[in-house]
């Protein structure tokens, strides 16, 4: 039997007036996954998250969180979900600790001191626990929002650009904490514009464009299918490429030849041909395809109509 789906989105459409923000979205995220939703601004990532969280209501289709319908069984669904909204919002009347105690209470947890202490410490908020929310910097407020999403230990955690405007140190400690939660079994869904973060952390990604899922796969599969292998960049003396290598040439720019490689094994034959032709290598770089290359490739193509 399949494991429970942490999030199941079926044929979801969402319109704002005549603008189609989500266009028949189908998405399944399994329990325990570390999943990224990627796409340019306005692609529909936040609308999709809001629909999963119940902050936006789908015009058609259905969304389930841990098997619970987000509208008909909203109480059960929301208990399973922790969301860090993209916008920096806070209640100026309360301190950090009060904010977390209140948020915990909303989920029916009245005695939660041990866990609240732990997340305060793990997110580096110990010194600010009794500070009013108004007195915190943007990065600190972001940490409190993350803490608020975690306060009821939800099995599914959605982070909508949690590292936007956050310094490197926090970014690192935040991801360490989130990775730890993932290892403990929490399902993590994130959106980010830092593709290297998604590549380092996530097992699968969905790419959205104009309200549609245009790619959904493991990162490695996407890289393998959506990019053209490795690139070898060479600066040569003398500056010309042997005829046998010219079919591999992609560009010749700023004195560098860029050759397309299907695998590492081809490097040896390139080197051999250069030796035969008495061409010396002045500089050499091997560029691996990454998620950014996939992203750029996908985003420059028009979205196909379904």
């Amino acid at each position: 039997m399949d494991s429970v789906l942490a999030i199941e989105v079926k044929k979801v459409c969402k319109y704002f007036g005549s603008f189609c923000a989500l266009d028949h979205i189908d998405l399944e995220i399994r329990e325990g996954e570390f999943f990224a939703l990627l796409g340019p601004n306005g692609a529909g990532k936040t609308t999709l998250i809001n629909t999963i969280a119940g902050l936006a209501l789908a015009d058609s289709g259905s969304v389930h969180v841990m098997g619970n319908h987000v509208v008909n069984q909203y109480r059960l669904a929301r208990r399973q979900l922790g969301v860090v909204p993209q916008e920096l919002v806070f209640d100026p009347f309360f301190t950090v600790r009060e904010t977390l105690i209140i948020q915990s209470g909303y989920y029916g947890i009245s005695k939660n001191k041990t866990w609240i202490d732990e997340i305060i410490e793990r997110l580096g908020l110990t010194d600010k626990a009794h500070a009013n929310m108004r007195a915190l910097s943007g990065g600190m407020k972001r940490r409190v929002m993350v803490a608020q999403a975690l306060v009821h230990k939800p099995p599914v955690i959605i982070l909508d650009e949690p590292t936007a405007g956050v310094d490197v140190e926090l970014r690192q400690s935040l991801w360490d904490f989130i990775k730890q939660l993932n290892i403990e079994g929490h399902t993590i869904v994130l959106t980010t514009h830092y593709l290297e973060e998604a590549e380092a952390l996530c097992s699968r990604v969905a790419m959205l464009k104009q309200g549609k899922v245009i790619a959904l796969n493991s990162i490695q599969s996407l890289i393998n299918t959506m990019t053209a292998g490795y690139s070898l960049r060479l600066r040569l003396q003398p500056d010309n490429l042997p005829p046998g290598l010219q079919e591999k040439q992609v560009t010749h720019h700023n004195g560098f030849y860029e050759l397309r490689m299907d695998s590492y094994r081809q490097i040896e034959s390139v080197l051999a041909q250069l030796r035969e032709n008495k061409i010396q290598i002045l500089e050499m770089q091997l560029l691996q395809p990454d998620l950014e290359a996939v992203f750029v490739n996908l985003m420059k193509n028009p979205v196909s109509e379904t």
Binding site: K14, F16, T47, N50, A53, G54, L55, A56, L57, Y74, R75, L76, R78, R79, L81, V83, P85, E87, V89, F90, D91, P92, F93, F94, E98, I102, Q103, S104, G105, Y106, Y107, G108, I109, S110, Q148
Partner: protein
């Protein structure tokens, strides 16, 4: 239950943290009304036979303070949360719509009663105010503030800007309050105005509340209580409907 109690606690803490503005200031401004009317009108008007005008006026002013502060509490809390965006933390939670509404209403009732009790206590030192039937006083104070609390939730949800909320307050709440018999008995009005006054639900709150002090009213108090309760239920159902539909709260 913990979720509901937490939201109630949060709403109470919210206004208590700014108690000077939310409790003390309205008590002082209501007493200023009393001071002015006492000096200007005491010798000229007698509302009920044998009841000095100021003594007649005090329950009206107390109830007005109760109602206005109940409305201000829920409406300002709702619109502040909406505009600053932190309403999202309530909307993400598993709180039911009824729990959300009830917490906002009860916090409004508490603030309304605190301000009302504050005004009453200060006037009690200076005036001999009868207490004919305190149960009616408490019933109307609670029901009146609950109704205005529910109305405040609706206004807070509806208004997109503070400007719109101020319009709701100035063009709906204030006229209904001032024309409800806070400052006069409706028997002193021309017949046409008397009929119009009967269409104002706030009139029944003031009239019933005053009955608890003097044992005299324009309308039998149980009748007023039925009307106020029906209005409260209707307004609450509308508020629940708005919360459930996500009107101006969820996209």
């Amino acid at each position: 239950m913990t979720g509901f109690l937490t939201l109630l606690y949060k709403e109470l803490l919210r206004f208590w943290k700014v108690g000077f503005q939310t409790v003390l200031a309205p008590i002082v401004s209501t007493l200023l009304y009393l001071l002015i009317f006492f000096h200007v009108l005491e010798a000229h008007i007698e509302a009920y036979q044998g009841v000095p005008y100021t003594v007649f006026l005090i329950p009206g002013l107390v109830m007005m303070a109760v109602m206005q502060n109940a409305f201000a509490n829920s409406s300002s809390s709702m619109i502040q949360s909406k505009i600053s965006g932190n309403i999202v933390f309530v909307l993400l939670s598993p709180l039911t719509y009824r729990e959300i509404l009830l917490a906002y209403i009860l916090a409004s009732v508490v603030r309304g009663l605190m301000v009302g009790a504050g005004v009453y206590l200060v006037t009690w030192f200076f005036f001999d105010i009868p207490l004919y039937w305190p149960v009616w006083i408490i019933l109307f104070a609670v029901m009146g503030s609950a109704l205005l609390g529910a109305l405040g939730v609706i206004a807070g949800i509806w208004a997109d800007k503070f400007d719109q909320l101020a319009a709701f307050q100035n063009f709906i709440i204030m006229p209904l309050t001032f024309l409800s018999g806070v400052f006069y008995s409706i028997h002193s009005l021309p017949p046409a105005w008397q009929v119009l006054s009967h269409l104002n639900p706030f009139f029944y709150m003031i009239d019933g509340f005053r009955y608890g002090f003097f044992g005299a009213s324009d309308i039998p108090p149980y009748m007023s209580l039925v009307i106020v309760t029906v209005c409260f239920v209707a307004i609450s159902l509308l508020a629940i409907k708005l919360l459930r539909s996500g009107y101006k709260l969820r996209h």
